[in-house]
């Protein structure tokens, strides 16, 4: 599962441009929420598989996920 991080970056690279295309609120908020949640969950799964998941890493991914949501929502929400 070493490709988790690369896959996440690729998903972001393909999903964020969609926010410029959609004009309706629902698809945009779905993408923003999806990206934030996916970032958090994939991060946790990745570290769980690597057996190094701890509270610090959980908080780190949670903080970055919230940052992603806040920045994208302020721009497109």
């Amino acid at each position: 599962m070493k490709d988790h991080h690369a896959n996440l970056v690729l998903i972001f690279l393909f999903s964020v441009p969609l926010l410029f295309i959609f004009t309706d609120f629902l698809p945009k908020i779905s993408i923003i929420l999806g990206l934030s949640l996916m970032y958090f969950l994939v991060g946790l799964v990745h570290h769980k598989e690597e057996r190094n998941l701890n509270r610090t890493i959980i908080l780190e991914y949670l903080a970055v996920s919230l940052l992603i949501f806040v920045v994208l929502f302020s721009l497109f929400g």
Partner: protein
């Protein structure tokens, strides 16, 4: 180069043009129904010998709009610096255009006929017709500047010829950010840099780098910064 004076009539015409674009839902000098920019000059009874129009939308600041126009190579800058114009009018209007909330800026230039009477120009020779100089460009749809000649006017040429070409100015986007966006951009930059440095330190210590989560955080923050910059790019016509 003479200083332009602000004309309430031109500002009123600019406001009419902005309202017309929002109402008719178009982003161009000419409306889909053929309404020309000069129609709005007539609406406020502004007789002119020279006239020009610059349009902008989606800019976050006044300085961003001006910077966008001045960086233009297809005619906006020429309009602003054109010594044939003596008056200016500007209108800013918020509304929904093409399905998106936007801020429109309409900048009109003119040289009133009464002014021309004291400063003769070659355009006066067209059997009383007003000559129009129109420069168009678009950072998104860069279009070569064009000059409508006296002959074209006398033949009733509608005024806009040629097709538009796309272009994009990312570097100018950061200048266009509002204060709050610049703050966000700076914070993201600092945070992203910290993660990048951490990722590099991990790599130097001999740990695998690609799967360092600091590297992932830095990559995603970089994407957010680019998104912020791209989202702030305005367009001009």
């Amino acid at each position: 180069m003479r200083t332009l004076s602000e004309s309430p009539s031109l500002s009123q015409a600019a406001a009419l043009k902005a309202s017309h674009m929002l109402k008719q839902n178009y982003w161009a000098h000419f409306a889909p129904d053929g309404t020309s920019p000069w129609y709005f000059f007539d609406e406020v009874n502004y007789g002119y010998s020279f006239a020009g129009e610059n349009l902008a939308k989606d800019f976050q600041s006044s300085s961003g709009v001006v910077a966008g126009w001045m960086a233009s190579t297809a005619g906006h800058r020429e309009n602003i610096l054109n010594s044939s114009f003596t008056e200016i009018g500007v209108a800013v209007k918020n509304g929904v255009l093409l399905g998106e909330e936007t801020t429109l800026v309409v900048q009109l230039f003119g040289k009133p006929i009464s002014y021309t009477a004291s400063v003769p120009t070659q355009n006066q020779g067209v059997s009383g017709s007003a000559a129009k100089v129109e420069d168009e460009l678009n950072i998104e749809t860069g279009k070569p500047a064009e000059v409508i000649t006296n002959e074209a006017i006398s033949e009733g040429n509608p005024g806009v010829i040629g097709e538009t070409v796309g272009s994009f100015n990312l570097l100018g986007a950061v200048d266009n950010l509002s204060t709050s966006q610049k703050t966000s951009f700076s914070l993201l930059f600092v945070l992203g840099s910290l993660f990048a440095v951490d990722s590099a330190a991990i790599f130097r210590r001999g740990h695998h780098r690609v799967n360092s989560h600091s590297g992932l955080h830095a990559s995603v923050i970089l994407i957010l910064m680019l998104t912020l910059a791209v989202q702030s790019v305005g367009s001009i016509v």
